[in-house]
């Protein structure tokens, strides 16, 4: 649910029902990736010129404030506040969620790959161990046989 203003959609609060720190903190983290420091916001251009000439290319922040709170521990909801430099807050929040989802998808694929690689490696090591054991046993048997045959000869 969105609590915003009719005239200016660049700031709004959102109530996410049945959510807690789990989602809200991750969403806030994503929103903060687009955060512009209020001091710099006052005089964007001059600060960037002074500090860095290539900075504007890298960095186009849209968020001036992002935060969340849980109104009461017994309420199952969180309030997320988003204030932007002009874009609709709703779109910025949606983008943050979208990006969060893509990151999760990437985490999942990397994790699955790492686990399957680990399992293949474990299987290979186990097979190698088995092979080594077998070879050792055979060697032992050979020696025993050799010893036995020598005994017969001596007889």
């Amino acid at each position: 649910m969105e609590h915003g203003s009719f005239t200016n959609d660049s700031f709004a609060s959102f109530t996410l029902a049945e959510e807690d720190h789990t989602l809200a903190n991750a969403v806030r983290f994503m929103l903060n990736q687009e955060l512009v420091n209020a001091v710099f916001d006052l005089d964007l251009v001059s600060v960037y010129v002074v500090t860095n000439h290539y900075y504007l290319q890298l960095y186009s922040p849209r968020v001036t404030f992002a935060g969340y709170s849980i109104p009461h521990p017994s309420l199952e909801c969180v309030n997320v506040r988003v204030q932007t430099t002009g874009d609709p807050a709703r779109e910025v929040l949606k983008d943050a969620c979208q990006e969060l989802m893509l990151m999760n998808r990437h985490v999942r694929s990397v994790f699955d790959k790492a686990v399957s690689e680990f399992k293949v490696e474990q299987a290979r090591l186990a097979a190698e161990e088995e092979k080594k054991k077998k070879a050792e046993e055979e060697e032992l048997k050979k020696q025993r046989d050799l010893l036995a045959s020598m005994d017969i000869e001596s007889d």
Partner: protein, 380 residues
């Protein structure tokens, strides 16, 4: 006197073009950015400076960009068995690690016994305590094969697992331990008859029980080969003296740890930052021996330098628990730096047996994805 040449030079001058100006953050700022340092009385630089404008005046974009994340994120599996798993997550923020941990503990579903129908209980343990104990028994059943039992639902083969427990300690025998191996799976559902209102008209139809299974669970392909049992068959439920008896039915349903901890699919899931132990100077001879001796985790080792001289080295920094025992020493405090890497997490998952830990983690990430999707759908 400023010449024309100087003016042109000044106009074109860019400090970043000089060969001896380092790009990015200087070393000491970088250390502050991505290490927590455990000092003698408190840790410093604990804050995650991950907010994109934090280093703007140094010309460094500190934000996490999707492209960078795709390149930098790494997972390193250390160990993985049927129940336990340890892996390293590198290049991710604590917000994510914590979200995964919280979801693993509280929001990944599993099966647990929710209803216990007690027909007979003469044991010392009262009914409600017995029911609570039985509820906490981990069940080795894949929760993805079941549906949630909602208030209006009839318990059926898709949402309920029924176990029977009937044990009696005969007179003249020694005391009997009732273990979880006595829980017997009933694939056809409840065997207890529901009391009907005394009408005889239904006498030829199937008698009504506490569940309404339309088919036997062991006819389903998922369970045909492997019957459902508790994960561990040696958990003590109760002790019976001679002559005592327990007869009951336990109904397991799907749920999440948020509702009750018995539905948590993990014993625990936790993470810590990778410890980094750095010797700031040469630690030699007597000091080196002291350093090795003082560390309870055997992080340090002694290196022989010849001529009877010894030097301390950091052999196993991963073992460090940041107990700070080494920096309590007045001589050593300035020589040892205990740090934690802010974006490198050692993650451990201990499964209770419903699913292997690697599957649990994948499920947890999926749940976070679903949450995002829900918010996006809600705002569209």
């Amino acid at each position: 006197m400023v010449t024309e040449e100087d003016k042109i030079f000044a106009k074109n001058f860019r400090i970043d073009d000089l060969s001896d100006v380092p790009a990015g953050l200087p070393r000491h700022r970088k250390l502050k950015q991505n290490r927590v340092v455990s000092k003698k009385d408190a840790s410093v630089d604990t804050a995650d400076a991950i907010y994109s404008g934090g280093y703007v005046s140094s010309g460094v974009d500190n934000s996490v960009k999707l492209e960078n994340f795709y390149e930098d994120f790494k997972v390193d599996v250390i160990s993985c068995t049927e129940t336990d798993m340890e892996f390293d997550m590198i290049g991710i923020d604590a917000a994510f690690a914590n979200a995964f941990r919280r979801i693993l503990i509280a929001e990944v579903p599993s099966m647990a016994i929710e209803k216990v129908l007690i027909a007979y209980n003469t044991s010392l343990i009262v009914d409600e305590v017995l029911a609570h104990r039985i509820g906490l028994i981990p069940i080795a059943a894949d929760p993805r094969l079941f549906e949630y039992l909602t208030e209006n639902d009839q318990p059926n083969e898709k949402n309920t697992i029924v176990f029977k427990l009937h044990v009696k300690c005969p007179k003249g025998q020694p005391r009997l331990q009732v273990l979880t191996n006595e829980l017997q799976w009933l694939p056809n559902g409840s065997e207890f008859l529901k009391e009907t209102g005394g009408s005889t008209s239904t006498s030829n139809s199937k008698p009504k029980t506490y569940t309404s299974f339309s088919c036997s669970q062991d006819s389903l392909p998922e369970f045909a080969e492997s019957p459902i049992t508790p994960t561990y068959l040696d958990i003590l439920i109760a002790k019976l003296s001679p002559g005592q008896e327990i007869e009951l039915e336990a109904h397991a349903v799907k749920g999440i740890g948020k509702t009750h901890a018995k539905w948590s699919p993990v014993g625990t899931a936790w993470y810590r930052m990778l410890p980094e132990v750095v010797l700031l100077g040469e630690v030699e001879d007597e000091k080196a021996e002291r350093l090795v001796k003082v560390c309870p985790q055997n992080v340090f080792d002694i290196e022989d330098m010849g001529n009877g001289r010894k030097r301390a080295t950091v052999a196993q920094p991963r073992n460090c628990t940041l107990c700070k025992e080494c920096i309590r020493d007045h001589d050593l405090v300035d020589l040892v730096d205990l740090r934690s890497v802010k974006n490198h997490f050692i993650f451990k998952i201990e499964s209770t047996g419903s699913l292997p830990p690697d599957v649990l983690f994948t499920e947890a990430v999926k749940i976070l994805e679903d949450k995002c999707e829900l918010v996006i759908a809600d705002l569209s």
